[in-house]
């Protein structure tokens, strides 16, 4: 066993935190406000910017329209992560939809912690329609986080259950 200054390599690895899993592609649902994030995603596409293929973008009229059930259902159905992307604070087309979404997202993060799924799988970010590079960066960030957290265990059960069905 390799010893580095009194510690094993495994202990060193543990001390550095969990390592990302690279043998699977996380599925992330991105709920994107039509007025900012969806346009930012379109701009990213027009600019030929690359981001992971496992992101499923769902356009919504405003993040304030996003119900807590929508996020929970995504996780129950096996999404590895959920990204809620709304307008910059103070820039919501409907004045405060993004601020409401922030509170609801925070509540769902508490729920995810309470049930043991982990709040790290859900993130809300704010950007404007011209911030294509930030949009791409946020997607890469959540993908990195999800790779560290590993696959959604609920998705694993779903897959096993459906594999068992005839």
């Amino acid at each position: 066993m390799i010893q580095v200054s009194g510690q094993t390599a495994i202990e060193n690895q543990r001390a550095a935190g969990p390592s990302p899993q690279t043998d699977w592609d996380p599925e992330v649902i991105a709920f994107c406000c039509n007025y900012c994030a969806f346009s930012a995603a379109a701009l990213a596409g027009a600019k030929r910017m690359q981001y992971p293929a496992g992101v499923r973008i769902i356009s919504i009229p405003c993040t304030g329209k996003l119900e807590m059930e929508h996020i929970l259902e995504a996780f129950e159905k096996g999404a590895d992560g959920v990204l809620v992307v709304g307008c910059l604070e103070g820039g919501c087309h409907y004045v405060e939809g993004n601020l409401r979404a922030k509170k609801r997202t925070d509540r769902i993060r508490e729920v995810l912690d309470e049930i043991g799924l982990g709040s790290g799988r859900l993130k809300m970010v704010n950007l404007s329609d011209s911030m294509a590079s930030l949009f791409v960066q946020q997607i890469q960030d959540i993908m990195g986080t999800i790779r560290v957290l590993g696959p959604n265990p609920l998705g694993q059960t779903e897959k096993k259950e459906s594999a068992g069905r005839i």
Partner: protein
């Protein structure tokens, strides 16, 4: 309205730990208005409990229904069919709703999904405050419509305690001094002379303290 707050997912999960098929029943009246036990809240808690149980490798099947009022037998008949298919029922109504369902289904375990809090009003979005104790002998006429029995921490009936600080209650500075409110209100409506009347000790025999109460209105009986 009756104000309630949801139980934690952890507590609810432990309450129904032994059951595999459960019916979650929301109530469309007070607890819907106070965002605790309406259709939406029942749906959210169902997702959470279902996922939590799945993660524990002890999956649960949850059926959901929200009826107009759990405290009226007339509406409970809608539960007969869904209740027959489950092992237990969790009521997201107030304590009265839970007990009404338990009486209606004597052979079925019925659990409370909410903590019933008080009779109150919506102060601002998502903030409710207690206004009525349900003492059974309303004295609001004497106090300009502000109840010291409920809103004064010391339940004083003859003026303030003298401990209030800048119109706030000395017991909890988040709370206004009920007697300050009474004084201002009586002044505004020109009835300050009411403060000169000495209010005798309250008759508490009509309150809960002698056990569960009953109201009979013969003129409406059939």
């Amino acid at each position: 309205m009756i104000v309630a707050s949801p139980k934690s997912i952890t507590e609810l999960k432990s309450i129904i730990a032994e059951h595999k098929k459960v019916l979650f029943v929301g109530c469309g009246t007070c607890v819907t208005v106070c965002l605790a036990g309406g259709e939406r809240e029942v749906s959210i808690i169902s997702y959470a409990v279902r996922m939590a149980r799945k993660l524990d490798r002890n999956p649960i099947e949850i059926a959901q229904i929200t009826i107009e009022r759990q405290c009226e037998n007339e509406f409970l008949k809608d539960l007969a069919e869904p209740a027959s298919k489950v092992e237990a029922i969790v009521s997201f109504g107030c304590g009265a709703g839970v007990q009404a369902i338990a009486e209606r289904f004597p052979d079925k375990p019925v659990y409370a999904g909410l903590n019933t809090q008080f009779l109150g009003v919506l102060e601002e979005q998502a903030i409710w405050t207690e206004k009525c104790l349900g003492c059974g002998n309303c004295m609001l006429a004497q106090f300009g419509g502000i109840c010291p029995v409920t809103r004064c921490a010391k339940r004083l009936l003859n003026g303030p305690c003298g401990g209030s600080l800048e119109t706030r209650c000395e017991v909890d500075s988040d709370r206004p001094c009920a007697w300050q409110l009474i004084y201002t209100r009586l002044k505004n409506i020109g009835q300050l002379e009411r403060l000169e009347e000495v209010v005798p000790p309250k008759d508490w025999s009509s309150a809960w303290y002698s056990g569960a109460r009953k109201v009979i209105r013969k003129e409406h009986q059939v």
